[in-house]
């Protein structure tokens, strides 16, 4: 087990560090509630204004509402930006220490990203469940609430799929990190990721609501595994074999990105020119 200790330490130190930012979490939560509420009201206006199109829609309004709250609660799981510590390390030259450590750089950075992500997402999801899942129904606004999972099996499958979503998101973050190291600049790639993430994960609009012609592409591209697949498992729009197919797709992209990332990182680190003194 000793071999795993440095990685466990990297995970927990990042987790504890992020937990210090309670004010940031609260502010983020407030922002997410606002966006969630506007999203829900806009979706409701479209669904209720066109009953026929709504009946033919691949997901119901109730499902789309739950999708919206899930998307807001899980905002921190999206691979928005590379690890800021790595960007700093590239600028200051301290990244060379990571090469000297007797641990695997890919694994170390990967668990650090996972720690960073889980620490940010845990308090926000908890607050969001409280607000959108418990307080809203108590206020008599049950139809706009975050609904519980469709069934026990859906809940269990969702937990598995969400864990894979985090694993996939970290694998994508690793690719961003490697681009940061290779280009010595975090700004460009971070800016580029924002629109990609917001559209292709389903964060802006559930992927099923985009025009049918785009459906096949949207459902198999890697970012669907970060949000859309676990969400559809949650409210049982994906069940049985289809749910397992979704989970398989998440595993496929995660494995592919990890292999690609490891290979690429080894090459980048081998010809890394260290800046700073």
């Amino acid at each position: 087990m000793d071999a795993l200790r440095p990685y466990a330490a990297a995970f927990s130190s990042r987790f504890l560090l992020m937990m210090q930012y309670r004010a940031a979490a609260l502010a983020g939560f407030f922002t997410q509630c606002w966006f969630g509420a506007v999203h829900v009201m806009v979706l409701a206006a479209f669904y209720l204004g066109a009953p026929e199109a709504a009946a033919a829609s691949p997901i119901s309004l109730t499902q789309a509402v739950t999708y919206t709250w899930l998307a807001q609660g899980l905002l921190a799981v999206m691979p928005w930006v590379g690890d800021p510590e790595i960007a700093d390390g590239v600028r200051s030259g301290s990244i060379s220490y990571d090469r000297l450590r007797p641990v695997d750089a890919y694994a170390l950075w990967y668990v650090r990203a996972a720690g960073w992500m889980t620490a940010r997402v845990v308090p926000r999801v908890a607050l969001m469940i409280l607000a959108a899942g418990i307080v809203l129904p108590l206020m008599g606004q049950g139809q706009w609430a975050w609904q519980p999972p469709a069934s026990l099996s859906a809940a269990l499958l969702f937990l598995l799929s969400e864990t894979l979503a985090i694993a996939l998101a970290c694998a994508i973050i690793m690719l961003i990190n490697i681009i940061v190291v290779a280009t010595m600049n975090a700004r460009g790639i971070n800016f580029l990721m924002q629109p990609i993430v917001i559209i292709f994960t389903g964060n802006l609009l559930p992927l099923a609501l985009y025009p049918d012609a785009l459906r096949t592409f949207l459902l198999v591209q890697p970012f669907a595994g970060v949000l859309d697949i676990p969400n559809r498992i949650y409210f049982a729009a994906l069940t049985g074999q289809m749910a397992w197919a979704g989970i398989g797709l998440q595993m496929f992209w995660t494995a592919l990105f990890i292999v690609l990332g490891r290979f690429w990182l080894a090459r980048v680190m081998a010809r890394l020119e260290v800046q700073g003194g």
Partner: protein, 267 residues
Amino acid sequence: MNAIALLGCYFSASMRSQMQYPASAMMLMLAQLASTAIEIVSIWALFDRFGAVKGWSFGEIMFFYALIGISFSFADFLTRGFDVFGSDFVRTGAFDRLLLRPRSAALQLVGHDFRISRFGRFFQAAIILAIATSSLHFVWTPQAVLLALWTIAGGIAFFGALFVLQAVMAFWTVESLEAVNALTYGGVYAGQFPIALYARWFRTFLIFIVPLACVAYYPVLAILGRSDPLGAPDWFLPVAPLAGFIFLGLSLLAWRFGVSKYTSTGS
């Protein structure tokens, strides 16, 4: 040197520093154009699936979307100093230096850093406005142009006020509060749709507490020549942007109060 000339100096200094790296400045602008353009994709997808929403066409929504985007891009351009006030001025103590200079702190913050990249959003919104105009067969009469400029001015004042309020909070919290993002970026998002789509409590909030509807929804109705389906009187629609300026005035009063209570954190 008067205030306008001073701002001119700040402006040209900011521009020259960014044009040291012209390729980088252009890329940032293009990136912002692209990243703001995606919002319209989701709106288009919703219209594609559900059709017109409560009597509003896609062209009309694009009109709301474009005008709020133009207002916000200018406000964002002018208020970068307030945006980074907590992190770059209060936390570091750099604000003390601003207070020592014989010019108002607010003026120096307006001039702090004009970002060329902000025009990415402006160009994107201008393109959407052109598309909306042609899809609605809208004719820009001189009256409509004036009304649009008045609306944009009110919108700049409104969003400027939010950035000032964000800076005021930094006097007490040191860091700029991310929660204001809900009102700035979230305001842009909420203002993209006619507020008639929203629940009553949210409409009330956007009219009376944070008067976003007065700089977006009402004047755009006046430009489009539509009456408010919720029953606001017709005379009120073109007057509404005034609320943006009142909001800015109140936020500057809060700013003055904040400055008077300021104690340095620097060393």
